[in-house]
Amino acid sequence: MKAKSLFEKVWDAHTVKTLSNGQTQLFVGRHLIHEVTSPQAFGMLREKGLAVRYPERTFATVDHIVPTNESAEPYSDPLADAMIKELRKNCDEFDVTFFDVSTGKQGIVHVVGPEQGLTQPGMTIACGDSHTSTHGAFGAIAFGIGTSQVRDLLATQTMALGKLKVRRIEVNGELAPGVYAKDVILHIIRKLGVNGGTGYAYEYAGDVFDCFSMEERMTVCNMSIEGGARVGYVNPDDTTFEYIKGRPYAPKDEDWDNAVETWRSFASDDGCEYDDVVRIDAANIPPTVTWGINPGQAIGVDEFIPSLDSVSNDDQAGTKEALEYMKLEAGSPLEGTPINVAFLGSCTNGRLSDLEEVAKHLNGHKVKDGIKAIVVPGSQIVSQMAVEKGLDKIFTEAGFEWRGAGCSMCLAMNPDKLIGDQLCASSSNRNFKGRQGSPTGRTMLMSPVMVAAAAVTGTVTDARNVFKN
């Protein structure tokens, strides 16, 4: 039998047929929805008089618009209030399970899916959100989609899609101390470019991924789309199965062993062909920080802000635009750049292990005067577990505000926003112009521990020099 990649196996198992335009009609086994990209899709269903075909395959939560500093409804923002109520109404009317705020299971959709055991190897998963690639950490093929495709999934549980090519990205060797999963993905995007992955699924592999926890794998897969790749995945292994076991939607009892056997069979075969292979030496990855206005404009923390004569002709205009927007001086050191806000959270880095890692370092340190620092757990369950471990106290004693679960300042569709041209050290995934809610606000992406170091010193700093234990 021909050796196949995980992508091909999952794709083949879910192919319904070839459509008239040559695309594949692909069955999507799990559909996740949230309040921003689904209401119009439900509206289209009503217009066409269609039902949700497999309501048991769709799960909802609310994350983008949820305020993190108030929980009482109605929310002070009437638009946000209308959106949560609309989702509630749609889930009720179409019989979709909704992890609402009152259930204690609400959170960012890409934190909630894995947490509930909904995300499993060999699945196809889609959500009207580009960071759906997160779920690929489990060896699933997970796509971000638009609202018309949300409609297609609700109505048919299938969507029309062209097959992707597969690029294997191997990161071998050992990461230096103080270098995290976030640095790995920022480094990959820096090297391959923000559109290097267009048309590809990324298969992440090698020593570093073999050793990574599930949450570290999720951080990397999450940002695949920032490198242009709609899908990113890691082959499932014992780490994957151990994470899933015992979760609410995980297979149980006698079903468990069968499931593991099936899951294992989805992993890429030895000797399968890839459309491209990239190898990266883990030892060359520094703590990485973005200086510009897209996630590929990233450098090692000890490097200098690029000058126009250091970049290719192709990058001249983009570099100039980024330097102007970020108000940075070409050729100056990145380290020491003053920040105003520190944001810890998001579907990239808002999980328990992220908070634990920061708390371990932060204990005994204080956020510098004048810096606004907030920590936003990725879900109510993450928050609860963190509180049980006493992490909230470590954060609040250090001067961080401890908030409720949601997307918060990653995209500022809620009260958490930058003001004016504030510069934010952020554990989130996008540094686009205006991304954090102020049209002139500035974002530097980095690992959670680097965010904490920036909060403590008030400047972008190599965390290894701040937290010397």
Partner: protein, 198 residues
Amino acid sequence: MALAKINQVTGPAIYVPGDDIDTDRIIPARFMKCVTFDGLGEYLFHDVRFDDQGNKKAHSLNDERFSESSIMLSGKNFGCGSSREHAPQSLYRAGFRAIIAGNFAEIFFGNSINLGIPCVSMEADNRAALAQWIESNAGTEVTVDVDQLQVRAGDLTLSCEMRAGARDSLLNGAWDPLDELLSANQEVDQIAQELAYV
């Protein structure tokens, strides 16, 4: 209902310079606090068009010479970032019916085709020539020919590209796949039963 066959789009064009124009730029997140797409056209490229007092900034989208445009020309990796269909919806509602760029981010491309908005890729030299032509011939019609894979503007005839499947969908009036997806119910049920998970 049969969809229109989209062989070509003709109309005045506008040049919005820049590579890596992301969907947050096309429609900032705060304007997505809505439960329908109505009215999104008004906020297209809002934060590059207006300052924080609501005053117009210097931008081609604020230039009255280009106010009737239905074709947009831009740089590489257009529509990167968020999967929000609000971005092509906003373009459509602002009157845009075709986009020419260096290349397109995957999700944006798919979302646009689903709305019947052709997205054609063009090489840098041709884009530069077209940008210059648009600037010198404001308000004059440009044709994006999906069938011939050409963009025609005055004396210029420039080649462009589009993925075959998407192009066929437009030419055959099958760019919204829902009806075809719905017609395969039996096959879908069979796959659902074969899968090891619910």
